[in-house]
């Protein structure tokens, strides 16, 4: 599903190049549950952003479903992004001005799905995530775990092929974290590819494979 070939990313300030990623080559198959680990500043988020087409590598090749992402236009990227990718963030990033229901509905609006269909889909997701009772609340009326559930619900409502999650449990206590990881496990079972960044061995254990980053290099790849 994803193939990286010699991905490099550096920032240049003046004459000094600061490498964030170097020589990243790897492949991720459909249906995998991959955890990216590594110390702070090792380039995990950057890699995830590149995978999610929110950031561009400086060099290297990136194939997504056999499409050469490094060659296609911004517009096509947005299309792929909209169609296949769901994002989950450490700090949830819900829209404060919208209710739970409206937050979950927003991606559907941008996909121009009609109103009755939308209602059905949102109702379905609320049900699946067990948050029907919270649908009219605003984000600041929810606990962190609940907010992250909404964040995931919002990410999966469009039926993405892949979910990219950057430290999804980083702000949560362990009970809440477990709940989220269970949800990922379930989604993965239903066929969704998942790539998560995590610091926790325990969370990494939910996945099928670990990619360890150190100073921008892939240090080792391990299988669970």
């Amino acid at each position: 599903m994803i193939k990286l070939n010699g991905i490099e990313k550096y920032y240049s300030s003046g004459f000094v190049k600061t490498y964030v990623l170097r020589g990243i080559s790897c492949e991720i198959k459909e249906g995998e549950f991959v955890s990216i680990m590594g110390p702070s500043g090792s380039g995990k988020s950057t890699l995830l952003h590149i995978l999610g087409m929110l950031d561009e590598p400086t060099n290297g090749e990136y194939y997504f479903l056999d499409q050469a992402v490094h060659k296609i236009s911004e517009k096509q990227k947005t299309e792929i992004h909209k169609q296949y990718i769901g994002f989950v963030f450490q700090s949830y990033h819900l829209i404060d001005e919208l209710t739970v229901y409206e937050n979950i509905e927003t991606p559907l609006l941008y996909k121009k799905i009609n109103s009755s269909e939308r209602k059905g889909m949102v109702a379905d997701i609320l049900d699946r995530f067990n948050i029907v009772g919270k649908k009219d609340l605003f984000p600041n009326q929810l606990s962190g775990g609940q907010q992250q559930l909404v964040g995931i619900a919002r990410a999966v409502i469009t039926n993405p092929k892949i979910i990219l999650a950057d430290e999804p449990t980083g702000n949560l206590n362990s009970a809440q974290g477990e709940e989220i990881m269970d949800m990922f496990k379930k989604l993965n079972k239903d066929g969704t590819t998942i790539i998560q960044v995590t610091h926790s061995e325990k969370n990494a254990a939910y996945g099928s494979r670990i990619i360890n980053l150190l100073d921008g290099w892939i240090k080792e790849e391990g299988k669970n």
Binding site: S45, H49, L54, T78, H93, L98, E102, Y110
Partner: protein
Amino acid sequence: MFENYIKVALRNLIRGKLYSFINITGLAIGISCFMLIFLFIQDELRFDRFHSKADRIYRVVQKLDHTEGQGENSSSNPFPVAQALKTDYPHLIEETVRFFNFQVPSFSLQYGDARFNEKRLFYADSSLWKVFDFPLSVGDPATALAQPNSIVLTQEMAKKYFGDDNPIGKVVRFEGAVDLKVTGVFAALPTQSHIVFDGLISFATVYGQTGPNFGKSWIWNPCWTYALLKEGVDPSELESQFPAFVNKHYPDFIKPQMTHYLQPLIDIHLKSKLDYEIQPNNNESDIYIFAAIGIFILIIACINFMNLATARSAGRAREVGMRKVLGAERNQLIRQFFGESLFMSFIAVLVSMILVALALPVFNNLSQKQLSLDFLANPLIFAVLILVGIIVGFLAGVYPALYLSSFEAISVMKGRIKFSGRSGTLRKGLVTLQFAISLALIIGTMIIYNQLSYLRNVDLGFTKEQVVIVPAKPPIAGRYETLRNEWMQNNSVINVATMNEIVGAHHNTHEYNYEGMEAGKWIYFPSLIVSETFVETFNMQIIAGRNFSKDFPRDDSLAVIINETMVSHLGWESPEKAIGKRMYTPTGDERVIGVVKNFNFVSLHDPIGPFLLDMPLSNQRPFWIKYIAVRIAPKDFRETIAHIENKWNTVVPEYPFEFFFLDEDLNKLYKSQDNLGKLVGYFAALAVIVACLGLFALASFTAEQRTKEIGIRKVLGASVGGIVGLLSKEFLKLVLLSNAIAWPVIYYVMDSWLNGFAYRTSISLMSFVLAALMGLAIAFLTVSFQAIRAAVANPAKSLKYE
């Protein structure tokens, strides 16, 4: 989708209460000012357009060249012009109509006990309704002014004289001598007319009063004459006939100097500045000034909106980034932000409609108009409001829309938006512009007021204070000496004189033949026809020769007094040398007996030209005694006036007494400047308020943004004063910069405005410094309020959040 935007817009509105309040208030004030000015300008531009044939109606006016004499640019014509034009050019002219009032200040009208002097009565030709559309509520346009001794009154006049009785057929006594039958009543007359009257008398009535030979002269030019051109006739076609017309009808001596031309009816109110206008017209340039002010205030309000929106963008960046990650395209976000700003601007439009409705009575009072927010009668208001709503929404939204929508999703995910220095610079630039406009308006107001006070206090060369003017009537001439003697009995009456026009405001021109001029030729000089006590009454100064005097009984036909400028105009070496020079009139071999020190015989818009004082021939006195000037002592002036009134009532019982003060009357010459000053002043104040609202909000955002920095500084030991200084300094710098922009621009504008006056103040640095200090003080108060709040906040609290 749209629903979603509205929801977000509404919730944002409620969440940022202060922000929304300031935004909407500022915009609403801006739109209200704009609407008031729009209504004002619309009213001005509508003058005389209610006549259905307005585009074919022209006023015939007359120009008497002043290559040698002073000449005149007369808005009125000799009596026979109208009929002669109609007879000579039937293929070009459909109809003509004249208005006439003997050039007297008022006529008396009496019905039973109701007896008043009416200032706005005119004689008018019966063809009136073939040209104009002044609507009648009762009466037949075909006959109402056809018969001699007919009068058509306005509703207000009918009510004033007859109460609720039916006015038709009632007979009123006119000028104590003629009975006029009421043959019609006007319906409510549009106020947008350069001809304003309380009643019209059939023109034929004049001949009954004066005899059939009256009104044959091609010299005296008191008739305002309007011509309705035939459909499709170009006015220049008629104008090209005027040289031949002059040649055919006018007396030989005046032909070379005389020209006629046409003024489009609809141009008169704003463009015409001729002699003897029916009422003073307005200045076209004032319209431009107002339009500019209206647009500037709107710009200031839009700037607030833009500034506040960008200042808040940090808070909304997350939302933008998030929406992008969720699949929003940029143009969808642009639409969202435009939607929000349009939403806000239409709320402001609604609020401004309330504000305008509340402000209209005051504004009408100030501008002396009857404007209303009547959508049915004036659907254009509706269109303009919508348009303003859209334009303001668009202008105010364009920057936030483009700026906010450009945030990249990635930066949001990295948890920080780097605000480019650009938005900060732009914001500062806009604040500077706002303050520059406000300061310019303040300075402009001060300069206008300086000039007005200068005009009031400048030495006119004659005394205008404590002078009571009593309009007179021709029959009084025979009793004038008696009246004067009776008045002079009172010690508080210092002197009494007569004149044919109000000194300092109006005058006529008359024919003269000066020494050195070819005999039999005449040129026109401006002059006042006065009694022998005129110079003393007004404290004027004879600098050579002598004053008129009773000791020289033939002064009326043999003597003139000229002013200093006349001496130099005619090249007579000195005032002394001018004495005894010839200055013939058609009725007397007059000579210069004295030279009077220059005085301002016209408004201070114009410099002093050559001028004469002349006495009426004793047998023509009834015609020339139009005003009696009474100079009185300052103390107990009420009693003095009571004395004047008593004596009038015994000597001239048939006419109601009326009077006014000369200085008040002369102030009317500057009425339009006065109004301009007032209105500009009010709008300047509003502009400052709107700009300060914006500054206040911006300061509060800056303080908010820097909460953490302030907290750290306080922990490190900064004092409250130091922090207030830190936060205020930046804004005060902007205000100083705005001064630098405003000063040269407003200096240039006001200098050219002042150049419209022959007598003008110099622009003093004082106004500029004062405005700058005011600007600084206001800005400091506004900003420091927020700064102090931020500075005294508990640092522990603000730091905990990060």
